[in-house]
Symmetry: C4
Subunit: 202 residues, 4 copies
């Protein structure tokens, strides 16, 4: 199994998943309710769509940054990568659930947003597992000294910690929890890469 194939397959899955997000946007139907009102009522769909779109986008960017360092592919990596993709593919489902419940104001709006956080947590933890796998001798192109390892581990763990926060905030205010998720995705997009880490251009 070459690394190129692993990346191509992962890219394919992520490209399909990011496009399927739009399938859950409910097409308005002509009838009594004016079109603009229907679109307005569905704002949580559009918000959730945009947030999830950038999250999958950032996963894709980070996935490549990580894979660039990997020197060889073994079955454990294939398995961890499948688990990661399993959660990525669940994102459209979680997004549609949040969109359906976000403005109901009921307990379920909190639970829907918490479910979203759980899917993201699964994704973040799979990513951390791939990172830990890559630290073992001979699995990466570059030797990461112990100190940098800590910095990088910290950086990689931010996602996992963040989604725990989102999970908690979900039970206080679901829309704010969604906004935090979106803001973090944008932040991550431009976050400075720590020294010694491979720059994105490489």
């Amino acid at each position: 199994m070459s690394k190129a194939r692993l990346e191509a397959f992962s890219d394919g899955v992520m490209a399909v998943a990011i496009t399927l997000l739009a399938l859950d946007l409910i097409v308005p139907t002509p009838g009594r309710v004016p079109l603009l009102t229907q679109l307005g009522d569905h704002w949580p769909e559009f918000a959730a769509y945009a947030v999830s779109f950038f999250i999958i986008g950032i996963i894709w960017v980070n996935h490549h940054a990580r894979m660039n360092l990997v020197a060889r592919v073994d079955r454990t990596l294939l398995f961890l990568n499948l688990v990661l993709l399993l959660f990525v593919v669940l994102i459209p489902f979680a997004t549609a659930t949040v969109a359906a419940y976000l403005t109901t104001g009921s307990t379920d709006s909190h639970i829907a947003m918490a479910l979203y956080a759980v899917v993201m947590e699964g994704m973040a933890l799979s990513f951390s597992a791939i990172f830990e796998w890559s630290l073992q001798e001979g699995r990466s192109h570059v030797h990461v000294p112990a100190r940098q390892r800590r910095t990088t581990r910290l950086r990689t763990s931010i996602g996992a910690v963040l989604y725990v926060v989102v999970f908690v905030v979900a039970f206080i205010n679901a829309p704010i929890a969604l906004a935090i998720t979106g803001a973090t995705a944008i932040y991550y997009m431009f976050a400075p890469v720590p020294r010694g880490m491979p720059a994105i251009e490489e």
Copy 2:
């Protein structure tokens, strides 16, 4: 992040989005209304399908023409490209909405077509932003002299201006606005490339 990966991912998203267009063609159901009548009643679906198909096709062609010139990928380009894809992925949704409302003859038919123009405008502006990004020193393989820069900027802006026109026409006559969009996509397909610009063969 190599340019090849950016292109491959964008290709994947556009290939899925262009194919999803056909998912919104409502499959006729056996019953009282004859099949031909059903197909005839659904002509806006087929018209909107064809127009959007060529628009995504032309985006794909132009995306490559632009990326061919890019010398290096940074996070800003990744972000702008994601914004572009976010609008591309919205095209099937906007297309289905136009198809549902085009022949209702109500105010909503105008609003549906205007919504379509807004999605296209978002796409055109993302494209212009990528172009402006590419003009900075060191980001492109070729140095574009100030004069040509103006010509190319003009050419790139045509789309952004066009969709403002489509937006306005939408409120006068929605089907004509759709026809203008389609005609322009076909025109763009064969439009002569200004001298000094990279030919498509390169």
Copy 3:
């Protein structure tokens, strides 16, 4: 625009279209009608699915055989290729329509099958157009002498003629028209390649 990109995009669209075929298989729902009865009643869906699957498969094989010979990509080829893909992407829609009407025994079953033939004809004609395009001086890697040109043109036209036959048979017996389509796809899969034509291995 490199040929490799054109092929990759076309491959992507065909891979998505062939997979979307299965989306139109109606998942049975628990209720009064036993599962086996439901599956049995839906046999036209499975038959149409299998036929369309092999047709898209054979288009994909032929597309590559043709593209292998192409020496350079211009806007006309890009446009013809988009028209070809437009019909490929319509195949799941046409398949679902045939599946819905095939066993209704009404006039509409004939019309549904005729619609299927029309989509296939559009696809075959786009393919012929691409072939004619490739004959012009300098567009192919190999010079095809006038005589072979005629043989190859004949071979390429078989599809276009076949679907006219299928169209006619559709009005006599729709299931037989579908069976003819399927049989031809399988035949084409193994049809000997005329001498002088590029073998599939190349």
Copy 4:
């Protein structure tokens, strides 16, 4: 037809099929039934999703391992590969059917699980056919001695045998049949590769 294209197309189909699995997860709708109850009632969907996800994942891994050895592509291989993909693309349909019936406790729950086993059996047999094809002189990069051939044939047949077992167990206890399928997929993921067989890294 180059091997690279065959692999890329197969990868594309599998990437779409694995992502479409999530489309069959029914998005809960706000109403009388609490969200958590709805999610709980739908546990067979999530279980079937996870099992099918890993099965398609393992098919993908094995497909590459096999294709790595193939020296040249002919029409028979193209055909066998299409048959394999035809069954892969049916997996989301079979998965959704199992998910709908698994907990109905009726005869149909057994039949749904048996249908699932039939689709998997078709996939496993296509895989065995590709293996037998590859044994012929000149079709593989490596010469497989008669003895190893037997070992490898045995290994390749495990899937085909397994799904017969799953088929039988389906009529005794459908959830257990599903669990066996999932457990085997995970086992296969980590199963040691017999000596002389190409390791996954190559």
